[in-house]
Symmetry: C2
Subunit: 388 residues, 2 copies
């Protein structure tokens, strides 16, 4: 009989770099900055760390555990690299949680990083991957197909989508670590250059650099460190993988992502949540594209299927709405340094739960959800954190 | 207070492909072959699998959990890719063990694969890695430096090294799944073409394709499946990471690998082993090069430092010796499909412990050790399995 991870792992401290075009920092600089911020927040030193995980997608960012051990000089200890497309950081977190729940380690480090910019003038190297997702269609083009399908199926249009970037830019403008910190209007979105029709520039998240880190432990130990009064508990931690090429399958319907649906179902079961719309206080949702946030809100059961357009238009997902989505500004304002994003979301959720999100703080802060979608809907990780 | 993994995870079944130049198989074929062999051995079906891990080093073999989910159609479940250089497979196993010890899953799958041959006529693609280990010196050249240093320090010579390939080829000749199945003589080794002086062709392992898989569970559940009478227990599971570029550091002494020393120390502590030479029955040791097996035997405390040459010359590591090393034939006869090797070693150790190693069976089979060394001594994983 398997046992839920619920309430068995504590987040003791979090750290995050500014996200953006960080030409003066390499992946090692970013890791050091994020990890030492997390150490300071947790009130631990590196000597307290017994094992570490790093989420990295691209081999040019780093390979193997040495990509973490070398910048930190975290030698002689276990360092593991987890790679799971855009969910790399949150899957690194998931594996670290298992080690704490198993009682094998007392205090561990999880971090995620990606250094995508400054890869030379010839663009990203060919990794030789045989997977179609990596090859012959761009991410905007893939998600544009979903938007087109929803326009046809539900009567949504570019104005429906525009609610997402307008809201997220409103939020991100207040976040000191965001890549883009400016408000935009619906007209800005509608008049922006087209990237892959019907997705314009403001429907797409940017390519940015960044890193984020968390220090984990057991609840009984977390009580003895900095956040003894407001450490955060892991309530659920789910991963679901579907095919690497869903959009090439005739059975794929383009109006939702089975990976999100399955991971959400598992996470809600683990956390004992029967009505996510009422019970989840706020969420960081994978908004790589405006259409993705809307469909994910449906798949996460924040609203019914086909009602995502009305849901975002209603203001329900604003910081002061019924269920704030991406109060940080999301991928839209942070960009998406692949391996870093999942850990950054967990950083955001932790700070919100602790009431430390100055300027973009949500009111209801009992349970926060973080959601990563990787590949063209291939991999999804859902984590739920809550106050202890 | 952290708790050892000892006796909390059971190996329920194992599977392995033939290793070699498998031009007719791609990575997906290899995974399916190894995994279904493991299912059959364990007496489970894929429906029993709750989560899966795959060890893969190269992105052209596969990226993310979809590299496993797609060939197996293991959809809607967690699939994680772990990458940790040559220890990728054994680190995937380590993370899977945590999930079982945490009680989160009942039955999980671990596998490792690499498809290195058939990558086109231009050789391996440039992954863009910034890590020196991946760049500007070949693996034979790196390990040749260690051999040269030992020749100078200890008076070893090419004949000292030759004991390793002669023994391993003797063993591998009897293994139906080995890439190279022929006996060789000391003269064959000494007269072979030079690869990187003083390492000749028979001092180096080959580049091969292959995959291996294991089904894990808890001991109480393992009692209900195929190997109820001879399931195998995890006694220890250690990982230690040092720098990705030890051979560039003035402090590196070239006569041993701190990663192996640290992982071994941790593994022996977990398993409660104080005298490895007496207590370990046999071992699969990372013999990417002849010198590596000898230095690893020292670092694993099978003999004293500087005595590795005499140790292998004495016959102690033969199948019928005091402490058989690589009774399977090792990387020397199997080649080294990176992500697969760690899981293949665990396959071998399991079969030996169960007395199923027909033709190359060791006599004393209480505790078996598997050892992976990755990078130029950067990453080491040590796993100890035992009879229940």
């Amino acid at each position: 009989m398997s046992e839920s991870i619920k309430d068995r792992v504590a987040v003791m401290g979090v750290g995050c770099t500014k996200f953006g075009e960080l030409w003066e920092k390499d992946a090692e600089d970013l890791l050091v900055d994020a990890v030492y911020a997390a150490y300071e927040d947790a009130g631990v030193t590196q000597d307290d760390i017994e094992a570490a995980w790093v989420g990295i997608m691209y081999p040019f960012t780093g390979m193997a555990g040495v990509s973490l051990a070398d910048p930190l000089k975290l030698y002689g200890k276990p360092n593991t690299r987890v790679e799971n497309f855009c969910a790399s950081g949150m899957d690194a977190f998931r594996n670290a949680c298992f080690s704490i729940a198993a009682g094998v380690y007392d205090i561990v480090l999880v971090c995620g990083v990606e250094k995508i910019l400054d890869q030379g003038s010839r663009g990203l190297p060919d990794l030789g991957s045989s997977q179609p997702v990596m090859g012959d269609i761009s991410a905007p083009a893939m998600f544009a197909l979903a938007a087109t399908r929803c326009f046809s199926e539900y009567g949504w249009n570019k104005e429906t989508l525009a609610h997402v970037p307008v809201k997220n830019h409103h939020n991100g403008a207040k976040h000191p670590k965001a890549h883009f910190r400016k408000e935009i209007t619906k007209d800005d979105v509608l008049n922006a250059p087209m990237i892959a029709a019907p997705l314009g520039r403001y429907d797409c998240c940017a390519v940015s650099d960044g890193a984020a880190a968390l220090v984990l432990s057991r609840p009984d130990l977390a009580k003895k460190f900095n956040h003894k009064d407001d450490y955060v508990l892991v309530k659920a931690n789910a991963l679901a993988v579907h095919t690497g090429a869903p959009m090439y399958k005739p059975s794929f319907n383009y109006i939702g992502f089975p990976a999100t649906q399955d991971a959400a179902k598992s996470a809600y079961e683990q956390a004992g949540i029967s009505n996510p719309r009422k019970e989840i206080s706020f969420a960081e949702v994978h908004d790589c594209f405006s259409i993705t946030e809307i469909l994910n809100c449906e798949d996460l059961q924040f609203c019914r299927k086909a009602e995502g357009g009305d849901f975002v238009a209603s203001g329900a997902t604003a910081v002061d709405g019924e269920l704030p989505v991406n109060p940080s500004g999301g991928l839209k304002c942070f960009g998406h340094p692949i391996g870093a994003t999942g850990c950054r979301m967990l950083y955001e959720v932790t700070k919100q739960l602790q009431g430390r999100a100055d300027g973009y703080q949500v009111k209801n802060r009992e349970l926060g959800l973080a959601h990563n979608l990787g590949g063209p809907g291939s991999v999804c990780s859902v984590t739920i954190l809550g106050q202890h």
